[in-house]
Symmetry: C2
Subunit: 304 residues, 2 copies
C-alpha cells in the first residue's frame, strides 16, 4: 500500500534532485538549508539560493506537517460542515518552489506538488506549475505548455485541458484583470476513481515534479545570455510587484500558511528580492511591454 511516509520520502528526494540541478544550471550560488519544526507537529526543510549567476532568489521547500485541524479550517478545506469525519487529524506533505531569476529575460517559475490526508479513506493529491515571464516569448510559452501537455496526456486525455483552465483561473490577478504569467497547470483534490488508482495519481504527481528540471533548465539556457536594458530591468521589477500582489492577496497556500502559523520565512520565500510599484504605469503603444500585457489573458491556447 502507498503510505504517506513513502510519498514524503519521494518528495525529499525530489527536493534534493531539483536543488542539485538548479545549482548546476546557476553555476555559482549554492542552496542554504534550514530545518524547522512545527509546534503542532512535523516540520520541514527550506532550501534557499540567493545572488547566483542566473538566479537572484529562489526557494525549494519540503514539508511534512501533521496535527489536528480546527473545525473551521476543516470545513473550509472540504467545502462543507456536514462531513461526518470521525477525526480532524491531518497530514500534509509537499514540495513548493519559486525561482526569481536575475535577468528580466528569464521567467519566474513556480511549482508545487502535494499530498493531503485526513484518514485512510480521505486523501488527495494536488499540484501545479506555472511560468511568469517579464516578457512573454511565445516560443517559450508553447514549449512550456506542450511539455506539460505531454506529461498530462500520458495519464489522462482530459488532464491538460482541465488543469490548464484551472491554472488560468487560479493564477489570475483579479484587481489587475491580468493572469500572473502564461499559466501552466493547476490541480487539487485529485482522489482515486475508477480511472485512476492512488498509485496512478502518485505517478502523475511524480511526473509533474520531474518535468520541472528539464523544462526550466531549457528555458534558462534559451534566455540567460540575452542582453537587457535598464528599462527592461525596471519592467521586471514592476512585474515582480504583481507577483507579490498575487501571492499576498490571492494565493491559497500563502494564506493558509500565514493563518495557521506556518513558518513565515518559508512561506514568504516566494517573494522576490526586490519589487517596484510605479503609479499608474502604462506601456507605450507597440512596445514589448504592451505586447506582453496582451498575452496575460486567460484562454490562450499555447499548444495550437
Amino acid at each position: 500500500m502507498l503510505t504517506k511516509e513513502t510519498i514524503s520520502e519521494y518528495f525529499i528526494a525530489l527536493q534534493n534532485n531539483i536543488c542539485t540541478a538548479i545549482e548546476k544550471a546557476d553555476g555559482k550560488a549554492k542552496f542554504v538549508t534550514d530545518k524547522w519544526e512545527r509546534k503542532g507537529g512535523g516540520g520541514g526543510t527550506s532550501r534557499v539560493i540567493q545572488d547566483g549567476n542566473v538566479i537572484e532568489k529562489g526557494g525549494v521547500n519540503f514539508s511534512a506537517v501533521h496535527g489536528t485541524l480546527s473545525e473551521t479550517i476543516l470545513s473550509q478545506i472540504l467545502g462543507t460542515t456536514n462531513h461526518k469525519l470521525p477525526t480532524t487529524n491531518f497530514y500534509a506533505t509537499g514540495v513548493s518552489i519559486v525561482i526569481h531569476p536575475q535577468s528580466p529575460m528569464v521567467p519566474i517559475i513556480h511549482m508545487n506538488v502535494r499530498y493531503f490526508e485526513i484518514s485512510e479513506n480521505e486523501f488527495w493529491f494536488g499540484g501545479g506549475i506555472d511560468l511568469t515571464p517579464a516578457y512573454v516569448v511565445p516560443d517559450d510559452a508553447k514549449y512550456f505548455h506542450s511539455s506539460l501537455k505531454k506529461v498530462c496526456d500520458k495519464f489522462d486525455a482530459n488532464y491538460y485541458t482541465e488543469f490548464k483552465k484551472w491554472a488560468d483561473d487560479y493564477f489570475f490577478i483579479k484587481h489587475r484583470n491580468e493572469t500572473r504569467g502564461v499559466g501552466g497547470i493547476f490541480f487539487d483534490k485529485l482522489k482515486p476513481s475508477a480511472k485512476h488508482s492512488k498509485e496512478n495519481l502518485f505517478e502523475f504527481v511524480k511526473a509533474v515534479g520531474e518535468t520541472f528540471v528539464p523544462v526550466y533548465t531549457e528555458i534558462i539556457s534559451r534566455n540567460k545570455n540575452l542582453a537587457f536594458t535598464e528599462k527592461e530591468k525596471e519592467w521586471q521589477l514592476l512585474r515582480r510587484g504583481r507577483y507579490v500582489e498575487f501571492n499576498l492577496v490571492y494565493d491559497k497556500g500563502t494564506k493558509f500558511g500565514l493563518e495557521t502559523d506556518g513558518r513565515t520565512e518559508s512561506i514568504l520565500m516566494s517573494l522576490p528580492k526586490n519589487a517596484s510599484w510605479f503609479y499608474n504605469f502604462s506601456p507605450q503603444k507597440g512596445s514589448k511591454e504592451e505586447q506582453t500585457l496582451a498575452f496575460l489573458k486567460k484562454e490562450i491556447n499555447w499548444c495550437a
Copy 2:
C-alpha cells in the same frame, strides 16, 4: 444640519491644503492629479507625488462614492445580518494618505479620515494616523504620540488611550509578530452619543486631519538632512517589504477596495516605489536594526 456634502467639501479642502504643504516641505516634486469615476456612483481625485527631494512616492486620495451595498458587504460592515435597515444605499467619503520618503531616516506616514452614511440615522466617522520609521527614534515617537494625545484630549479624555490601543491592534503584522511602526491612533464607527454630537465628532475628525501637516513636516525637518549608509537603505527596503505585507494581507481599506472593484491604482498607491525581501534576515546583536525591532511592540507608552 451637517450634511454629507459639507463633509465631502471639507475633505476636498483638506486634501488641497495637505498637498500644498507637502509640496512645500519637499521643495522639488509636484503632485499629479487623476480624477476618476466609479461605475456604481461617485468617484474621486487621486494626487500622487514622486521622485522628490524628501518624498520618493506619496499619494493623497480623496473620494466620495455612493451606490448600493450587497447584503453580504452590508452585513460585514455592520457585523450582523439582523440589521433591519430600510435601504442598502451608502455614501462613503474620505481622505487617505501614505507617504514613502527617500531617506531611511524619515518615517513613512499614513493618515485617513472618513465618513460613512447608510441613512440619516445610520452614519459614522472613522480615521487614523500612524508612523512607520525604518529606524525608531524615541524622541520622534514621543513627539508624534504627544501631539495626537493633545488633539484627542481636547475632545474626550478617553480618546487617546482607547484609539492608541486600537492602532496597536490594527497596525499589527501577525505573521511577523511586529507592529507596523510606532502606531498612532485608529478609530472607527464613531457615532453620536450623549457626550458627542455629530458636529462634535466632525470637529474631532477635522482636528485629526489638520494635525497631519504640522506633525509630519516637523518630523521631516528633524531627519531629512541626516546622512545614511547603503546598509541603512537596505534596511529601509526590507521595512517597506513589511509595509507591503501589512497592506496586502491585513489592511481592511485595501481589501474592501479591491473586493468592491475600486480603482486599483488609487488603492495601491499606498505601496512604496520599491521594497525588498531578504530571506531570513536577522539583525546583528546590539545594532540599530535590533533596537528598532524591540520598539515594534504593542503597548509601549510613548507619552510617559
